[in-house]
């Protein structure tokens, strides 16, 4: 949580654009990561992320402090935007159309081809999970959020997050085990220590 976030949010709710700008700077990369892992394409992730913050700015007056970080609200908007994105492009989106190079470049510019493939394969496997499981994996293992923070962002109890995490890991392992590429054989996908 950002220092002085409550005051910044109050100022933003009052229409202070500079306060919202500070919140934007702090959370923009986080929301962008969340989106790009889900959609796989940088351009689409940029558009969706822009829409998330645009929507947040336009509706910030309806925001109510409930003791959760401001990011929880942003994640909820982002989830809805991604759902709308897939709904609008239902017949146009497929994993094959994702651009592995584009995604891997965003992660590590200097990585070799094998590593880029590995990154994209794991991302694609995450993207094949149910949306709820994707959210849990991203928030817990990419953003290192606690169970409580994850629960607040996903509107779930800590117990529900734990259960979802357990199932998400199991499904992710199954997806990766189905893959036959050499890169996956080098991953210790069957070890519980992974998570």
């Amino acid at each position: 949580m950002l220092d002085g976030e409550v005051k910044l949010v109050q100022s933003a709710v009052g229409g202070d654009s500079s306060a919202f700008g500070v919140l934007y700077d702090h959370y923009h990369a986080m929301i962008y990561r969340f989106v790009v892992i889900k959609v796989g394409r940088r351009e689409e992730a940029e558009d969706i992320t822009h829409q998330v913050f645009l929507s947040a700015w336009q509706k910030v007056k309806t925001y109510k402090q409930q003791g959760h970080p401001f990011s929880s609200w942003l994640y909820q908007i982002a989830r809805n935007q991604v759902i709308d994105h897939y709904r609008a492009k239902k017949n146009d989106i497929s994993l094959e159309k994702a651009d592995p190079e584009s995604f891997a470049m965003a992660v590590d510019h200097d990585a070799d081809i094998a590593k880029k493939m590995q990154l994209e394969t794991v991302r694609a496997a995450v993207a094949r999970l149910k949306p709820d499981y994707q959210d849990v994996i991203i928030l817990r293992f990419v953003e290192d959020m606690s169970l409580k923070e994850t629960g607040a962002a996903l509107k779930k109890s800590e117990g529900a997050v734990k259960l979802a995490q357990h199932r998400a890991i199991r499904e992710l392992k199954e997806i990766l085990a189905d893959e036959s590429s050499a890169e996956f054989q080098s991953l210790s996908i069957f070890s519980d220590e992974d998570f």
């Binding site: 919202f20 934007y24 923009h28 962008y32 892992i37 940029e46 913050f53 645009l54 336009q58 953003e143």
Partner: protein, 177 residues
């Protein structure tokens, strides 16, 4: 390599700085949705679902009113049916007719005991030359059979006939004839 390590590498993902700056400027340049312009209950009930419901109600009410006025204009609508305090539907015309037929209207003629004598004597005493027609009419009731020419016989009869007391039945019979 562990999957968790790969996932942690995703944290290195950063948006393009130029894009981020442009996006920020565009977002902050966009005016916020103003709720101050909304009035009354619209301001209070600004939930999306409620607003959709209210718009639907407004549209529905407008259609109902339009239909009502069209009916009024074409004259095929009668407000009495709905506005009258007594509902006509509870009144059965046939039943009312039958009930009226069943009422036993009996005029107690037996109690009608007036004396023709009195009236005759009055008419006799009040008889004058100019009052002959009225006397003749009374004699006609008596049934003298000269009703077709009352004037010619009235004078003679009036001078000779004594006052006669008629019963009610006789009077009615004479009237019926």
């Amino acid at each position: 390599m562990k999957i968790s390590d790969i996932l942690k590498q995703f944290k290195n993902i950063r948006p393009d700085a130029e894009y981020a700056e442009k996006s920020k400027r565009a977002v902050l340049a966009t005016p916020q949705e103003s709720f101050a312009r909304e009035k009354g209950w619209k301001f209070i009930l600004r939930g999306q679902g409620v607003m959709v419901l209210l718009h639907s109600l407004e549209t529905g009410a407008a259609l109902v009113l339009a239909g009502f006025f069209i009916l009024l204009a074409t004259g095929s609508f009668s407000g009495n049916k709905y506005l009258a305090p007594v509902q006509y539907s509870v009144i059965d015309p046939n039943g009312l007719h039958a009930e009226a037929q069943a009422i036993d209207i009996q005029i107690q003629l037996a109690n009608l005991d007036y004396s023709v004598v009195a009236s005759t004597s009055e008419s006799t005493s009040a008889m004058t030359a100019g009052n002959i027609k009225a006397s003749a009419r009374a004699l006609t009731i008596k049934g003298t059979g000269t009703a077709s020419n009352p004037t010619s016989t009235a004078v003679g009869d009036a001078s000779t006939t004594a006052p006669v007391a008629l019963s009610v039945d006789q009077a009615l019979q004479a009237l019926s004839q």
